[in-house]
């Protein structure tokens, strides 16, 4: 990039035609970039305006309360916010070790013949529409999960113990934990692909030096490869998290959709995105619509913060 600019500047006198063309080209590129920014700014402003009645009416209570009652017109977003953060965090917890394993295997250990098929298969996961994950989650995964995970754990819990409290719920496979598992599958390919790219940026000399010093594979990965990509990896994780936060359809199908704070790992909950998807089409009251738009703004801010953090960290990695 820099080389290109230098050679461009060093070029001898340009023809008038070239200058006009360049000017137009620059203007077009500038327009493309600013148009997007304007749209983004407009989006924030319109969300803020649309959600304003809710913020004005409920004030800080909108973020603290978990009451969500369209009949009394009382809205509090905390249940949905907590549901969003918990389900995304759990999804990350499940997806990260797997993604790391996939990426390390593909880059460091995989026979060259298998590298492409496995890489493609992981990337294919990213191409499956989320509604398909939702349907599969509800009709296939949830019954399996209820029968093979939830019931054994719930029946094994001694009555009256804390174990029983945190595993209480309806044994039908729909809930925050099940939604997190589905989310984990959905964000896995994004994290794995980014981690793989990061691992590929490690200069062979670095890795080979470590091997030359007598390290075994595990030591090379743990002490050389992973520290080398550390900051970039955090960015990759944040990108996955950003996707998990905004995922709508798959979560709506399987999270159980009850407002309020989750009380156990099998409890049903709601996320910001699922609440909007569920209620926006039929919301007629002004305050109801405003509250849903306000929820949208909250999600926007959360996702924006996560992605900005990710950019920052990836940027640091690239510069270092």
């Amino acid at each position: 990039m820099t080389a290109a600019i230098e050679s461009h500047e060093a070029a001898p006198a340009r023809t008038a035609k070239g200058a006009v063309f360049d000017r137009t080209f620059e203007a077009l590129c500038f327009g493309a970039a600013t148009l997007l920014l304007t749209a983004l700014g407009g989006l924030i402003v319109s969300l803020a305006i649309g959600g304003w009645p809710a913020f004005a009416k409920f004030g800080p209570r909108f973020f603290i309360s978990s009451d969500w009652d369209p009949v009394q017109e009382v809205y509090g977003a905390s249940g949905a916010i907590v549901g969003t953060l918990v389900s995304s965090a759990l999804a990350l917890l499940f997806a990260l070790p797997l993604a790391l394993g996939v990426a390390i295997f593909l880059v460091e250990l995989c026979p060259v013949r298998l590298r492409r098929p496995i890489g493609t298969a992981v990337e294919l996961l990213a191409g499956i529409p989320s509604i398909v994950y939702g349907m599969w989650g509800l009709f296939v995964f949830a019954p399996w999960f209820a029968h093979n995970v939830q019931l054994p754990i719930m029946t094994a819990a001694p009555p009256g113990s804390i174990w029983e409290t945190i595993t209480s719920g309806v044994p039908n496979g729909a809930g925050i934990l099940a939604a997190s598992l589905i989310l984990a599958i959905m964000i896995l390919p994004f994290i794995a692909a980014t981690l793989r790219e990061l691992l590929l940026t490690i200069p062979p000399a670095v890795r080979e030096s470590a091997y030359g010093l007598g390290s075994n594979t595990f030591e090379v990965i743990r002490k050389v490869s992973l520290p080398y990509i550390r900051t970039g990896a955090v960015g990759a994780i944040m990108l996955g998290l950003g996707r998990a936060l905004g995922e709508t359809m798959a979560v709506t199908f399987i999270i159980g959709n009850s407002h309020g704070f989750p009380t156990s790992i099998f409890a049903s909950g709601a996320t910001i995105a699922s609440t909007i998807a569920n209620e926006f089409a039929e919301a007629t009251g002004e305050l109801h619509t405003a509250s849903l738009i306000a929820l949208g703004l909250v999600l926007f801010v959360i996702t924006f913060a996560v992605l900005a953090l990710a950019r920052l960290m990836i940027g640091r990695q690239v510069n270092s």
Binding site: D67, P70, V170, P171, N172, A174, N278, E279, A283, T284
Partner: protein, 354 residues
């Protein structure tokens, strides 16, 4: 549901195909009208539109964006008619200069998953159903249930309450019914989405059905057509005259027949707990909303002629898709109400033949 969806899709595809071709080669033969709103009657409107396009050349562009969306769109005036499963109150109609009339009916059916209990074997009363949904009745062995179900062996299972997670006319009818029969339900209220005191939410009829099927001891509620087409284990409900009735097309029709439509301004009438020993207690119509004062009389005329045609010729199609047709006197009342839709000159835009 699946069958209806497929039919709806096929009809929509046929429509799209036809109008696409028409747009490319020549202008469509008849007028084009646009509507938006309720998803519940959408497959039927598509079917009607398909039949009517063949008969009269009229083209309907109907967007099933949900009742709330339909109300917003007609208030904004972006469509010729809005459709809603939830009737607007006369005051709201007045405020927005709208007129409302019913097209077709459906009902809400409680379904349960009780191993060893045949469909239709459990009997529920309104208050018991409300107590279940309030979370007060927690197991199927509860004495309140045993009372109504003498002779039926109910399993000792915890009750899992399943409700709709998405805002829906089905929930509106169901909660309105509970509010009507059980004073305790007043604290929850009636709306297309409420703060449910108990249970879990499924998305759409199929979401509720899947959760009920997957959970022994679950109870849920779905649209009649959905319950029928999927052979779900429904429960009998006690109606206003004390009889336990099964959800059938006949029992919905009985509810509509007993209703006092003539004295319901703006057709604001929920067919809940209607008199008549065969009447199903949770029945409701779906509605069309139009502006009373029309800037474009030709457009309004086309919309009204569409529904006039559907009243005359559309009952068989409604029945085939498991909707319930309106009784003839109600159709006559609706036709008469159309005189309230006037053009810029103050004259009614459409005069029904009958």
């Amino acid at each position: 549901m699946i069958r209806r969806l497929l039919l709806g899709l096929a009809a929509a595809a046929a429509l799209a195909g036809c109008s696409g071709k028409g747009g490319e080669t020549k202008a469509p033969a008849g007028p084009q009208i646009s509507g938006a709103g309720a998803t519940f009657p959408a497959p039927l409107y598509a079917k009607w539109a398909e039949a009517q396009r063949a008969a009269t050349g009229l083209t309907l562009n109907y967007q099933a964006i949900g009742s709330g969306g339909g109300i917003k769109q007609i208030e904004a005036g972006t469509v010729a008619f809005g459709a809603s499963d939830k009737p607007l109150k006369p005051a709201e109609l007045e405020q927005n200069g709208l007129l409302q009339f019913p097209t077709v009916m459906g009902g809400v059916v409680p379904v349960a998953n009780l191993p060893g209990v045949a469909p239709g074997a459990i009997k529920l009363t309104g208050p018991v159903l409300a107590d279940i949904y309030l979370g007060k009745v927690k197991t199927w062995a509860d004495p309140e249930l045993a009372q109504a179900n003498a002779g039926v062996k109910l399993p000792n299972l915890p009750i899992t309450v399943v409700h709709r997670a998405d805002g829906s006319g089905t929930s509106f009818l169901f909660t309105s019914y509970l509010a009507g029969v059980a004073p305790a339900w007043a604290k929850v209220g009636a709306s297309d989405s409420v703060a449910w005191p108990a249970g879990i939410g499924g998305k759409g009829n199929d979401g509720v059905a899947a959760l009920v099927k997957q959970t022994p001891g679950a109870i849920g509620y779905v649209e009649y057509a959905y319950a029928k087409q999927n052979g779900m284990a429904y429960a009998l409900l006690q109606n206003a005259s004390g009889a336990f009735v099964a959800p059938t097309a006949a029992s919905f029709a009985a509810a509509a027949a007993g209703a006092d439509w003539a004295n319901a301004p703006g057709f604001y009438l929920l067919l809940l707990n209607q008199p008549g020993k065969d009447a199903w207690p949770i029945t409701g119509a779906t509605f069309i909303l139009m502006h009373r004062r029309q800037a474009d009389p030709a457009q309004a005329r086309a919309v009204l002629s569409f529904f006039d045609w559907a009243y005359k010729n559309g009952d068989a199609q409604a029945l085939a898709l498991d909707y319930v047709a309106l009784p003839e006197p109600v159709k006559a009342l609706a036709r008469r109400s159309w005189a309230g839709i006037v053009g810029p000159d103050g004259k009614p835009v459409y005069a029904p033949a009958s």
